[in-house]
C-alpha cells in the first residue's frame, strides 16, 4: 500500500528513478558484483549485504531441485537481469492492449483505471484509490501496525528485520530460497504489535501492490503476542510480466496467541494455451512458524496461473496448542503443471493441523498434491486432518497425490482422505437436461468442488476467485 502513496508523493523522483534505471540497467548475469550493486542501489546496511553474499555463496553449491513432478526447459541464471524490479513496457492507451486480456478484465468487473494499471498502461498521477489508501494508512498508524515496502523497513526498523529475516526460511533452505535471499528486489514487511487486531484486511490495495511485485519478492509478517492479521496477496486478473522466473519467499511469525491468515490468489500468465510457451515459472517458498502457544497460521491459496507452479506453504507448529491450516485450490489447464501442497511440522504438544486440497486438472494439465505431515517426538496429542480431492476434466490431464507421513509420537492422530473423480458424464447430462450449457455446468461443478476452500477466503476475494475459476476453465470442454 505504501508503495502507491510513495509513488504519488514522490512523483518526480519516481520518474527520475525510472530513467536512471533505464540508463544504468546492468546486463544479465549473476555475480557478487551484481549483488553488491543491488545492495548499494538500495543503500542497504552492511549486515544485509553480507547476508546476501552468504546466500549467494551457498546457492553456488546447490543443485536445482528436480524431485517435483514438473518439466520445464532449464533456466539459464546468467541470462536473467537481477538489477531492478521488473519493468513493464508502458503502453499509451488501452487500445494497445490485447483485446482478449481486456475481455477478461471486463468479466472480472475491474474498473477502467485498474485495468490500465494491470495492463501496464500509463495512468494518471492521481486516481481515487490513492486518497483511500492515505486514509487507511492513518488508520493503521493509529494502531501501530507497520505495513511498508521491505526496502524501506530495512532502514526504519533494522532491528526487527535483523531479528526475523531468514528466521523461518533460512537461505540454506532450498535452491530458490537461496537465490531469492541473494538477489531479492523488494516486498512487504508487516508487523502487528502486541494485542492489536489489525483493523482491516491488508488487502485493499492488492491490485496496486501487485503492480510492482518483482520476480524475487520477499515478504515478512510478524504478529506479536495476542495480535491478529489477515493478509491478501495476488490478483485475480491475469498479469503481464516479462520475467519468466518468479522465486518469492514469504516468512510468517506468529507469537503467543497470535493469528495470521494469509490468502493468495495467483494468476500469472500460464503460457500459450496451445503450446504452453512463455508462461511464468512460479517457484515460491512460503513458511510460517507458530512460535508461541495457542498461535495460529492459516494459508489459503487459489492457484490458477503460471506455466509451472512449485509451492508448499508450510507451518512449523512449535508452540503448544498451536494450529496450522492449509486450504488450497490448484488448477492446471492446457499445458500447465502444478506441484503444490504443504508441510505441517508438529513440535509442540496438542498441536493441530488441517489440510484441505482441491486439485483441478483439465486439458493437458498435470496437477500434483505433495504434502508432508510430521509429528515430532514431543508432539503429544498432535492431530492432523488431511483431505485431498482431485477432479479431472477430460482424459488427457493428470492428478497425482503424494502424502508423506512421519510420526514419531505414539499419541498422534492422523486422518487422511483422498478422492479422485471425473466430472461425471451423468452430472453434465443432468445439467444439460435442465438447459444449462456444458461450459456453465463445468464451472458450476468445479466451483462446488472448491467450495470448502473458497469459504476460507475473505468475501470479496471469494467472489473474484469464483469468477476467475470460470474464466480459467474456458475451453476445457467440448
Amino acid at each position: 500500500m505504501t508503495d502507491i502513496i510513495e509513488k504519488t508523493i514522490e512523483q518526480d523522483y519516481k520518474y527520475g528513478f525510472v530513467t536512471n534505471i533505464e540508463q544504468e540497467t546492468l546486463p544479465p548475469g549473476l555475480s557478487k558484483d551484481v549483488i553488491r550493486t543491488i545492495s548499494k542501489r538500495k543503500n542497504e546496511p552492511k549486515w544485509l549485504l553480507d547476508w546476501r553474499i552468504k546466500a549467494y555463496n551457498h546457492w553456488l553449491n546447490m543443485e536445482e531441485p528436480d524431485w517435483a513432478k514438473v518439466e520445464y526447459e532449464s533456466i539459464n541464471y546468467q541470462k536473467i537481469s537481477y538489477f531492478s524490479a521488473p519493468k513493464k513496457k508502458e503502453l499509451k492507451s488501452l487500445d494497445e492492449v490485447d483485446p482478449e486480456l481486456l475481455r477478461t478484465y471486463d468479466k472480472l468487473g475491474i474498473p477502467l483505471e485498474e485495468q490500465k494499471l494491470l495492463a501496464g498502461v500509463a495512468v494518471d498521477a492521481v486516481f481515487d484509490s490513492v486518497s483511500i489508501a492515505t486514509t487507511f494508512k492513518d488508520e493503521l498508524e493509529k494502531y501501530g501496525v507497520i505495513f511498508m515496502p521491505f526496502s524501506k523497513a530495512v532502514h526504519k526498523y533494522p532491528e526487527l528485520i535483523k531479528t526475523y529475516l531468514g528466521s523461518v526460511v533460512p537461505y540454506t533452505d532450498n535452491y530458490f530460497a537461496a537465490l531469492n535471499s541473494a538477489v531479492f528486489s523488494d516486498g512487504s514487511f508487516v508487523y502487528i504489535p502486541k494485542g492489536v487486531r489489525c483493523p482491516m484486511e491488508l488487502s485493499t490495495y492488492f491490485r496496486i501492490n501487485a503492480q510492482n511485485t518483482g520476480q524475487f519478492e520477499r515478504t515478512l509478517i510478524v504478529a506479536d503476542n495476542d495480535s491478529n492479521v489477515s493478509y491478501l496477496e495476488g490478483c485475480t486478473a491475469p498479469q503481464r510480466d516479462e520475467n519468466q522466473l518468479h522465486a518469492a519467499v514469504v516468512e510468517l511469525v506468529a507469537h503467543k496467541n497470535a493469528t495470521i491468515k494469509y490468502s493468495t490468489v495467483q494468476n500469472w500468465y500460464p503460457g500459450d494455451p496451445k503450446t504452453g510457451k512463455g508462461g511464468i515459472y512460479n517457484f515460491v517458498t512460503k513458511r510460517g512458524i507458530c512460535k508461541g502457544d495457542h498461535s495460529k497460521i492459516s494459508w489459503t491459496q487459489v492457484e490458477t496461473g503460471s506455466a509451472v507452479t512449485w509451492k508448499y506453504p508450510s507451518c512449523i507448529l512449535k508452540g503448544n496448542h498451536s494450529i496450522g491450516e492449509f486450504y488450497s485450490v490448484a488448477m492446471a489447464n492446457h499445458h500447465q503443471q502444478a506441484d503444490t501442497g504443504t508441510k505441517m511440522v508438529h513440535i509442540g504438544t496438542n498441536t493441530k493441523s488441517t489440510i484441505i486440497s482441491k486439485g483441478i486438472s483439465a486439458g493437458k494439465g498435470q496437477n500434483t498434491y505433495r504434502g508432508e505431515v510430521k509429528m515430532m517426538k514431543g508432539a503429544e496429542n498432535a492431530r492432523n486432518f488431511s483431505q485431498c480431492d482431485s477432479i479431472l476434466i477430460g482424459d488427457e490431464c493428470g492428478a497425482h497425490t503424494f502424502p508423506y507421513i512421519d510420526v514419531r509420537n505414539p499419541t498422534a492422530q492422523m486422518e487422511h482422505e483422498a478422492t479422485t473423480s471425473n466430472i461425471g458424464e451423468d452430472q453434465l447430462f443432468y445439467c444439460n437436461q435442465r438447459g444449462i450449457s456444458t461450459e456453465d455446468a463445468v464451472s458450476m461443478i468445479v466451483n462446488g468442488f472448491c467450495k470448502d476452500v473458497f469459504a476460507e477466503l475473505p468475501m470479496e476475494f471469494a467472489m473474484e476467485a469464483q469468477k476467475l475459476m470460470e474464466i480459467s476453465l474456458e475451453g476445457s470442454v467440448g
Binding site: 452430472q427 443432468y430 444439460n432 437436461q433 435442465r434 458450476m444 461443478i445 466451483n447 462446488g448 468442488f449
Partner: protein
C-alpha cells in the same frame, strides 16, 4: 407435440429399441409400462439427447423438427423435460443456485428477463409449497443426502419451475411411499393443461391411478406390443406381462 417414427437404437452394438412408433399430441398424457430392461429409460434418454446410443433408423419429431441432431440443452430449452429415474448428486452446488441457473437459462432462451436472487427466491418459495419441500433443502447441495422420495419431489419441483411443454417422468413413482406418491401426483396434475404433454414411464398402475393417462402402451424388449387406455394398466396389474409375450 412428439412424433416417434420407427425408432431403432442400440448401445455398444446391442439393439435395445427395435422400431418404436408413438405420437403424443398437445395436452395428452401417455404412459409406457414394461418390465426392467425393456428399454423405457433408453427411449427417454434418446428423446432428451443423451449421446451414448446409436440411432440406426427412424426419427423423433418434436414440434415439427427432428430432435436427433440437437444438443441436450437445446432440447431442454425448447421445452423437453425429464424427471430422472436416478437423479444425480452435484456436491457443493446448492439447490437454489442450480434451480436459478436452470430457470434463467430458460428465461433467456424465451427472451425473458433473468431473475435476480431476490426475485428468484420469492418465486421458488411458492413452487416448493406445491411439492411440499421444506425450504431448508434449497440450501443443500443438489440431491446430496436427499432420500429417494425427496429426490423425486425435487425432480417435480424442477418440472414446475421450468414449465416444459413435454415432460417425461421416468419411474418417478418408484421408491415412493404413499404420501410422497400423492404429493408427486398432485404436482403433476396441477401442472397439466390442454397444452402440456406427458410421457409417464412406470412398472405399476399405482401412480397411473392418480394421473389417469389418456393412453397406455406396453413395451416389451424394445417394441410396443400393445396400446390402449387405463383398462390396459389394470389388466397388467392383474395378469402381469406374460400374456402379452408371443
Amino acid at each position: 407435440m412428439l412424433n416417434i417414427k420407427s425408432l431403432k437404437a442400440s448401445i455398444d452394438g446391442k439393439p435395445i429399441l427395435k422400431g418404436i412408433n408413438l405420437n403424443i399430441k398437445p395436452g395428452e398424457m401417455h404412459a409406457i409400462m414394461g418390465l426392467n430392461g425393456s428399454g423405457k429409460s433408453t427411449l427417454a434418454n434418446i428423446i432428451t439427447g443423451r449421446d451414448c446410443y446409436d440411432v440406426s433408423d427412424g426419427d423423433v419429431i418434436y414440434k415439427g423438427d427432428s430432435l436427433l441432431e440437437k444438443s441436450p440443452e437445446t432440447r431442454a430449452l425448447e421445452g423437453i423435460f425429464m424427471s430422472f429415474q436416478y437423479p444425480v448428486v452435484i456436491p457443493g452446488v446448492n439447490l437454489t443456485y442450480f434451480l436459478k441457473a436452470a430457470l434463467n437459462a430458460h428465461r433467456k432462451h424465451r427472451g425473458e428477463e433473468e431473475l435476480d436472487a431476490m426475485r428468484f427466491l420469492k418465486f421458488i418459495r411458492e413452487k416448493i409449497k406445491q411439492v411440499e419441500i421444506d425450504e431448508k433443502y434449497l440450501k443443500r447441495a443438489v440431491n446430496e443426502g436427499f432420500s429417494g422420495g425427496e429426490k423425486k419431489r425435487n425432480e417435480i419441483l424442477q418440472m414446475i419451475t421450468l414449465e416444459p411443454s413435454l415432460s417425461i417422468l421416468d419411474e418417478t413413482d418408484s421408491g415412493l411411499d404413499i404420501d410422497a406418491l400423492k404429493i408427486v401426483a398432485n404436482g403433476v396434475n396441477q401442472y397439466r393443461n390442454k397444452d402440456n404433454s406427458f410421457l409417464v414411464i412406470t412398472h405399476y398402475q399405482r401412480l397411473l391411478n392418480y394421473l389417469k393417462p389418456d393412453f397406455v402402451h406396453v413395451l416389451i424388449d424394445g417394441v410396443i406390443v400393445k396400446s390402449g387406455d387405463m383398462t390396459l394398466a389394470h389388466k397388467l396389474e392383474e395378469k402381469g406381462y406374460g400374456w402379452l409375450e408371443s
